[in-house]
């Protein structure tokens, strides 16, 4: 795989014109907006973007305004990958027939967790199976935020949403977050990675790799929503650091199915004492507030255990030895 | 299963089942026991062509009708012999061509040659020809 290492200094990024423009109507402190800016900074040339229905689609294209400097298409909630398929094959055949300029045009499909984990997974799985050359970016804010914070397959265990409300009987969502990136690795696709915007360089590099690879690439980006997570607007990026440090959201990539930890998570793997307790992460967000009560406290322990199990499993996949079982 | 064909020198506009056929071709003789294949046959001048080794007179007994003229042709045997598989419709085509005289053997050959590659066409036409020549009437 071609590596574009070194191209992305802070100055490179700052100097490159934005393709996702100011004036969009995402909420203050919206991490997905930062993520889209970064993704578009990673582009290598002509690019067409297709967007699933969701927060970022709605907030960036309120007619007659658009925040997109690239060609951009939205059709429906569940169609991002199917649209990317159509765009990719159209480019291929029109280029072959000499109807458009003979140049590489990258295709990016953007979708939130609803458009990826749930309603969009069929189209995504199909498009990846067919091997279309495109980058699918999941900006995961862990619930249906566009319609007002309803739980999705990407909502973590214990989180309170408007359809998994923490009440006197039910303590928030009772199911685990679906391992979407692993599901994509199981498709035997050439490139899958997770990314967190705090580690901006890692994110941009991975997005670029996803564009450069031949065939489908999947990038799972952690993207806090202060409105839905009941967190401080200013902390949206900080939370993405904390999620990595607690191993709630480890960073890795799988090139042709081979897992490898990315530096921020590798540091923790090599020095397990740096791994922070999940409590530090959970307490920053109102959606987990009900866990910090005597009645629900055990759930925090459960979350810690599940996080540890998943982390250890990941370490094994990456060919690393997990530390001796936590006491 | 029943299927219908209309043959005409004029454009065919009717798009529905055939209720009163001039010709009934029975590809699967086991149906004779369960289906009254002669039911809709026209009163005068009809033909019933059955894939069977039996004589037409024997088949007439099973049919339980006085209508039409009964013909038999051992379509399954011809197919097995030449093609090695019991595809009966090609043989039945030969029999229908002979009985109705709507198309000549030459025309059938021409169309088979147009549709199939030479080796396949040759075998198929051999089936048609043997059935054409071998179909027996009462």
């Amino acid at each position: 795989m071609e590596i574009s290492e070194g191209k992305f200094t802070a100055k490179d990024i700052a100097e490159k014109p934005d393709l996702f423009l100011s004036g969009h109507r995402a909420c203050a402190g919206c991490a997905p907006a930062t993520v889209l800016r970064m993704i578009m900074k990673a582009t290598r040339g002509p690019t067409i973007v297709t967007n699933a229905t969701g927060c970022m689609e709605v907030s960036s294209t309120i007619y007659p305004y658009t925040s997109w400097a690239t060609p951009w298409l939205h059709t429906a909630f569940e169609t991002a990958a199917a649209n990317a398929s159509g765009i990719e094959v159209a480019l291929k055949v029109l280029r072959r027939k000499g109807r458009i300029k003979d140049e590489q045009v990258d295709v990016i499909a953007l979708a939130g967790d609803g458009g990826t984990y749930d309603i969009g997974i069929q189209a995504l799985s199909g498009a990846v199976e067919r091997g279309h050359d495109f980058l699918f970016v999941l900006y995961d804010n862990e619930a249906y935020m566009n319609t007002g914070i309803q739980r999705s397959g990407g909502t973590p265990y214990g989180a309170s949403t408007t359809t998994s409300q923490a009440g006197s009987v039910v303590p928030g969502k009772l199911q685990q977050k679906k391992p979407i990136a692993d599901i994509m690795v199981a498709h035997d696709m050439p490139y899958v990675a997770t990314a967190s915007p705090y580690y901006w360089k890692d994110l941009i590099m991975k997005a670029r790799k996803g564009m450069e690879v031949n065939g489908p690439a999947f990038l799972h980006v952690f993207a806090p929503c202060p409105r839905g997570w009941r967190s401080d607007n200013a902390k949206s990026i900080e939370l993405t650091k904390l999620a990595v440090e607690t191993c709630i959201f480890p960073l890795w990539e799988a090139v042709n199915g081979e897992y490898q930890l990315s530096t921020p998570s590798k540091v923790i793997a090599l020095a397990p004492q740096k791994k922070k307790p999940v409590k530090e992460y959970l307490q920053t967000q109102g959606r987990f507030r009900h866990l910090f009560t005597p009645k629900n406290e055990k759930m925090i322990m459960e979350i810690q255990q599940t996080t540890d199990q998943k982390w250890n499993r990941l370490l094994k996949k990456c060919g690393m030895t997990p530390p001796a079982q936590a006491k | 299963m029943t299927a219908f064909t209309r043959i005409s020198t004029e454009p065919i506009r009717i798009h529905c089942a055939v209720y009163n056929p001039d010709v009934v071709a029975v590809l699967d003789p086991t149906l004779l026991k369960t289906v009254n294949v002669a039911d809709g046959l026209i009163e005068e001048g009809g033909n019933i062509i059955v894939n069977s080794k039996e004589n037409p007179a024997e088949i007439r007994k099973v049919l339980n009708t006085t209508k039409g003229k009964v013909w038999t042709v051992p379509a399954s045997e011809i197919s097995m012999k030449i093609l090695g598989i019991p595809i009966t419709n090609t043989a039945m085509l030969g029999a229908v061509a002979r009985v109705t005289k709507i198309v000549s053997l030459e025309t059938v050959e021409k169309m088979i040659n147009a549709r199939f590659r030479p080796d396949v066409a040759e075998k198929n036409f051999a089936v048609v020809k043997e059935a054409y020549e071998g179909v027996k009437s009462e």
Binding site: D18, A28, G29, A33 | -
Partner: protein, 92 residues
């Protein structure tokens, strides 16, 4: 609806957008505003990268960053992420 909205005969089909959101100013949303202490700022550019609204730009001529307050929603990410605490949020 307002009187400036166009009729169906005047607009392109299928909702092709004809205005850049750069003409839609979101700066008046904010309750807080960033205040930079130039002396503390090391021009590390992290704020330009993390800002969800592309408010902060690198101006090569001035060899400095600049804020386009027309779009700042006052989220405070820049202040939170500033490694030298050169940016603080103040009431707008």
């Amino acid at each position: 609806m307002n009187s400036k909205d166009k009729s169906w005969k005047e607009i392109s089909p299928a909702g092709v957008c004809w205005k850049s959101s750069k003409t839609y100013l979101t700066g008046d949303w904010k309750s807080f505003t960033p205040d930079r202490d130039v002396k503390k700022c090391t021009k590390c550019l992290l704020c330009t990268i993390y800002c969800p609204d592309a408010v902060i730009h690198w101006n090569a001529e001035k060899d400095d960053i600049e804020f386009d307050m027309n779009f700042c929603k006052g989220c405070g990410i820049c202040a939170n992420e500033c490694p030298t605490k050169a940016i603080v949020m103040k009431i707008a």
